[in-house]
Amino acid sequence: MQATRTFDHPEAPPAVKSRSFKRAFADVREAWDHRELWGHLGWQDIKQRYRRSVIGPLWITISMATTALALGLLYSVLFKANVPTFLPYVTVGFIVWNFIVGCVTEGTDVFIANEGLIKHLPAPISVHVMRMVWRQVLFLAHNLVVYLVVLGIFFTALDHPYTITQGGPEHPGLSWTIVFAIPGFVLLAVNAVWVALLFGVISTRFRDIPPVVHSFINLVFFMTPIVWDAGVLQSLAGGDSKWRVLIAELNPVFHFVEIVRAPLLGHAVDWHHWAVVGGFTVFGWLLALVILRNYRARVSYWV
């Protein structure tokens, strides 16, 4: 009977608070469970971008190939480097850099760009981040074709001990250590998620952050050993000029590039890069979880 129905207020408030680490973890975990959704959307983004072009996503590969070729040739002349070893170095470095820069710059826009979806469909906010990182992974997969081609052409220059620039350290050459690129890249992608979460939430509240990041990222590119060889710094830094090494070492991006690039080129695997990246993974995720705990529920108000 309708007449006997009560429309009373609920009795006790809930035990689960909106601001809790439990909810923050739940957001990330639920987003991971939605991987069919962001997996599909990530593919869709790529297909979408090249929808009416004739060769489609091949453009990603072509643009990477021309950039790597041009940069590799130009800087090998400037640094008097050996093209067969320097060109693969620049290519791999630039491929990894492209992934990083994509995740950071698109990470700042990740919630702003998805305003409509955030305001109309209840979903963990991490879904949008994972979709973006997945899209960048797919871009990288397209670019790996360039790596394979370059590797095919210059394999004979890389399969034995070699140096990239004169005076630089000698690298042992390609070997089974190439498999380290896989855990290296997984770590990189895991870090990309917290970076995008952190920058995404802050940028949604403070709209100055995206332009700041966009303008600083170019500086980071030149400070990171991508078109120049970090080994040169080491050879220059004999004796009292240790500070030059710091230019690279204090740059976190260098370590992230190195854990993926070194195995792919047969460079010696230097464990201190892994340690630094491991530290960033732990502290970065802790920071992101704190932000997520405090401001996860605010994102839909701020976008």
């Binding site: 009977m1 309708q2 007449a3 129905r5 429309f7 009373d8 207020h9 609920p10 408030p13 809930p14 689960v16 608070k17 909106s18 069919e36 959704l37 599909h40 959307l41 869709q44 297909k47 979408q48 929808r51 409509g116 979806l117 955030i118 305001k119 109309h120 469909l121 209840p122 979903a123 509240r205 403070f206 709209r207 100055d208 952050i209 529920a297 839909s300 108000y301 701020w302």
Partner: protein
Amino acid sequence: MVSIDVWNASVDFPIFDAKSRSLKKLALGKVGGKIGSEGRVPIIEALHDISLSLKDGDRVGLVGHNGAGKSTLLRLLAGIYEPTRGHSRIVGKVAPVFDLGVGMDPEISGYENIMIRGLFLGMTRKQMESRVDDIAEFTELGDYLQMPLRTYSTGMRVRLALGVVTSINPEILLLDEGIGAVDAAFMAKARDRLKDLVARSGLLVFANHSDEFLAEFCDSAIWMDEGHVKMHGDLREVLTAYKGYDPFERMHQHEETPVLSGNGGE
């Protein structure tokens, strides 16, 4: 168990103008003040001290003037906005149908939009693939489903969105107004499916201005006014209070089936 509980919840929107949204203002503005404090940001209080308890089987109509907070309340109930003060707890899979256009990409085909929308509403790819033919048949869009969505008319988009929504199995169904842009023949067809959908879903909250729709789908109602729940109770009573007359009496002159016959007053 499907339920929505809201305790003394308020929803306040901070309105950042271009200036106060920048870091500089906050960092340099007030020395010694707490950075990040939103004291100087103007706030719109969209919802005020809402307490509700909705349970499995509830069919709630939502009425109120424009700007009364109906859509915001629906978003609060969907979990999109968590209350700025107070608490809310939502148990169950929510399927919101607010803006039929959101989550629709104009550049991709109707088929792909069906897939994406379904995934967003919590379906798996396999489930959607098995429903695509059914949706295609219901929407009568035929070969148009291969075309990019930008070639669709408004009515065709509504058909597509309705097709997807009515093919899922939601536990909590939240419908905002705006399901009106289709022609009468299709509406008759959609009505049956909507009825079916409402029967399948555990909990319904439906914002609408049409007495007929409300009478058909709901048995209780919430009257929103200026961000408050002005009245929550039996549908007929709330509608009578809201409109100032009993809408069911007029309706019965046209329709022979009294939808809510036997409703005793409280």
